[in-house]
Amino acid sequence: MDCLRTENLCKVYQSNGLEVAALHGVDLRVERGEFVSIVGPSGSGKTTLLNLIGGLDMPTSGTVYVDDLDITAMSERQRSDLRLARIGFVFQEFNLIPVLSARENVEYVMLLQGMGQAEASKQACATLALVGLQGLEERRPNQLSGGQQQRVAVARAIATGPSIVLADEPTANLDSETGQKLVQVMRQLNDDLGITFVFSTHDPMVIDSARRVIRMRDGRLLGQQ
C-alpha cells in the first residue's frame, strides 16, 4: 500500500523575473515500510521534492498524496495538522528547539497532539532509548554532539508514529563514522518497527545502506535501483 504518491509534480521558482524549473513532472510512489534514498548532485531538486512531499511548500502543478490524502488541496492549517500526525522530519542541521532538553524536544510533538505530560515524558524517554540516547534525556541541544542532536531529531520524527519520515541530507554535517551510525539507527527503526524513511543524500556510504535508490538530475527522476 502506498503511503506516498506524487503525480506529475512540478515546481517553478521565480528568480529576478526569471522562471527556474526545479521539478519537472515527478511521479513517485513509496510503499509503507520502505527505506528510500533520493540521490543526486546539488541543485538536482532533492530538497524541493522533500519539501513538497512534506507539505512545507506548494507545487506549481501536480499533486502529492500522503496516505491517499491530497495535501495540495489542503489549507495551511490542515497541512500543519497533517504534518503533526503523519509526517516526521529530520533536517540537515539545527533541527532542535534550543531552549528544550532532548526529552522535551521529543515530547513537543506529542504534547502538540494533545497527549498528557506524564505519558509524553515516558514515551519520549523510551524513544530516545531506541536511538541510543538513554542517560542524555535532560541535555540541551548545545550540550549534545552533532550526531546526538540528529538522533534526537530522529527520535522526535518517529515519536508520533508517522506514516513517513522525511530526512533531508541528515548526515551532511556529520563525520562519516557518526553519519554511518545515524543511518544504522534509521535502518534499525525501519527493520524493527517498519517505519517508512525517505531521505536525500549524496553520501555514497549512506546510499549503500538504502534498500531503494532513486536518482535525480535537473528536477527529473532518472531511474531507480
Partner: protein, 409 residues
C-alpha cells in the same frame, strides 16, 4: 507549566542582556509616568488646598439668595452658634465666619476698589495661615481693633505705610454708606495675584459695624481634615440646612474654573503618558523583532513539526506577557518608591515662585501624591503597550513560510 508558557519563559531568559534592556525600557517608562502622575496629583492637591484656604474653603454656607445679588440683608444670623456647631462636626478641621463686602479703600493720597473681608482673627489664621503671611507689620490683635491688613500689591498701589490711617467705605445692609477709619496694621503676601492686589482684611465685629450687619455674617466657611470628606460632609449639611434657608456649596462649585483647569492639566498628563508609552513600545517592538528574526529557522522547524500559526502567535505573546508582567512590576515599584521618597521632602519650586503666584500657591513646594487609580491606570497602560507592541512581531513569526524559514540561517 504548559508547553508554550515553558518555551516562552525560557526564550525570555535566553538572551538576558536583551531582556534586561527591554525590561529597563518598560520599567523606566512606567516609573516616569507614575512619577509624573504623582507630581501632577501633588500639584493639583497643593493648588486646591491653597486655593481653598485662601479663597473659598472646602464648604461654604450662605444664607439663601445672598449670592444672587450679594444682598447683605440675606445674612446668616447667630453665626456664633452655627460656627460652634460646625466645629463639632466629624471631619471638620476648622470652621470660621466671614463677611465679604465690596468697598473703597482710601489713604490721604490714593484710593482703590477692594474686596473687604471681615474675619475672626484666631480662626482665620488657622485656615489661611494669615499670621505667617504678613510681610510687614503684624496680624490683627482682635476683631474690633479698627485695624486693617492689605496685600502687598495694594499697599504699593496706595503707597501706604504701616500705621497710616485708611478709610474704608462700603454700602451697608441698610442702604446707607458705611465709612470707618482704620489703621494699617500689616501687609500680607498670599501669593495670589488677585487677592494681593484687592483684598482688605478687617476684624469681624468691625465689618459687622461698618456694614450694619448686627451679629450676622455673609458666610460660614469649613475646612475639612481631608478633601476626600468634602462631598459627604456637604451632603450632610445640605440635608441639615436646606429647609432652614441656607445654601451649601463646595469649593468646586464656587471655583468651577479651577476644576476645569485641573481637567485640562489631566489631559496633558495623559498626552504625555501616550508619548512615553509610544517611545517604550517602539523599543519593545524593535527588540522583539530582532528576537524573531534571530529565531526564524527555529520558527520554521516548529511550523514544519505541525505547530499552527496561532500557536506561534500565542508563544510570542506569552513572551511579551512575561516581559510585561516583570517590567510592570519593576516600574510600579520604582515609581512608587520615587514618589514616596520625593513626597517625604517635597520638591521646592521657589525658584519659579513667580509662576506659582499665578496659580495662588501659598507654598512653592510640591509634594508628589500617590493615587492607587493613577498607579493602576499607568501600570495597565504599560502592560497593554507591551502586549500591543508584540502583536506585529507575533504575526510576522506566524506568517513565516516553513520552507523559507528553515532555509534561513
Amino acid at each position: 507549566m504548559q508547553l508554550f508558557s515553558r518555551i516562552a519563559w525560557r526564550n525570555v531568559m535566553r538572551n538576558r542582556r536583551r531582556t534586561l534592556i527591554t525590561l529597563a525600557a518598560i520599567s523606566s517608562g512606567l516609573a516616569a509616568i507614575i512619577l509624573f502622575f504623582g507630581l501632577s496629583n501633588g500639584f493639583h492637591d497643593q493648588w486646591i488646598t491653597n486655593s481653598v484656604r485662601v479663597y473659598t474653603g472646602h464648604i461654604v454656607i450662605f444664607a439663601e439668595e445672598y449670592r444672587d445679588e450679594r444682598n447683605l440683608n440675606r445674612k446668616i444670623e447667630n453665626s456664633d452658634d452655627l460656627i460652634i456647631w460646625l466645629d463639632g462636626m466629624p471631619g471638620v478641621e476648622t470652621a470660621t465666619p466671614r463677611i465679604h463686602i465690596n468697598g473703597l479703600v482710601s489713604t490721604a493720597r490714593n484710593s482703590a476698589m477692594a474686596l473687604v473681608r471681615g474675619i475672626n482673627p484666631a480662626r482665620e489664621t488657622r485656615i489661611a495661615g494669615l499670621r505667617e503671611r504678613i510681610v510687614e507689620g503684624s496680624y490683627l490683635d482682635s476683631d474690633n481693633a479698627r485695624q486693617i491688613l492689605i496685600g502687598h500689591k495694594m499697599a504699593d498701589r496706595l503707597n501706604a505705610a504701616l500705621g497710616e490711617k485708611i478709610v474704608l467705605m462700603v454700602q451697608a445692609a441698610d442702604g446707607s454708606i458705611g465709612a470707618e477709619l482704620f489703621r494699617l496694621q500689616g501687609i500680607f503676601r498670599l501669593g495670589a495675584v488677585d487677592l494681593d492686589g484687592s483684598l482688605a482684611i478687617i476684624g469681624l465685629k468691625d465689618a459687622q459695624e461698618l456694614a450694619a450687619l448686627g451679629g450676622g455674617v455673609t458666610e460660614a466657611v469649613l475646612i475639612m481634615d481631608s478633601p476626600a470628606d468634602v462631598s459627604a460632609a456637604a451632603a450632610a449639611l445640605i440635608n441639615e440646612f436646606d429647609r432652614a434657608g441656607y445654601e451649601v456649596l463646595t469649593w468646586d462649585q464656587l471655583m468651577p474654573q479651577a476644576k476645569e483647569m485641573i481637567a485640562l492639566s489631566n489631559v496633558f498628563t495623559y498626552i504625555l503618558l501616550v508619548i512615553i508609552l509610544a517611545v517604550v513600545s517602539l523599543g519593545i517592538l524593535n527588540t522583539m523583532l530582532m528576537s524573531i528574526m534571530e529565531r526564524t529557522r527555529e520558527f520554521g522547524i516548529m511550523r514544519a513539526l505541525g505547530t499552527r500559526p496561532a500557536q506561534i502567535v500565542r508563544l510570542v505573546l506569552l513572551e511579551a506577557v512575561y516581559l510585561g508582567v516583570i517590567g510592570t512590576a519593576l516600574g510600579m515599584t520604582a515609581g512608587i518608591l520615587l514618589v514616596t521618597l520625593l513626597a517625604w521632602e517635597g520638591i521646592d519650586l521657589s525658584r519659579w515662585s513667580g509662576a506659582m503666584d499665578l496659580v495662588s500657591s501659598l507654598k512653592p513646594i510640591i509634594y508628589p501624591a500617590l493615587r492607587p487609580a493613577s498607579v493602576g491606570i499607568a501600570s495597565l497602560a504599560a502592560f497593554a503597550t507591551t502586549l500591543i507592541a508584540a502583536i506585529y512581531p507575533a504575526l510576522r513569526a506566524a506568517r513565516l513560510r516553513p520552507v523559507d524559514a528553515i532555509r534561513s540561517l
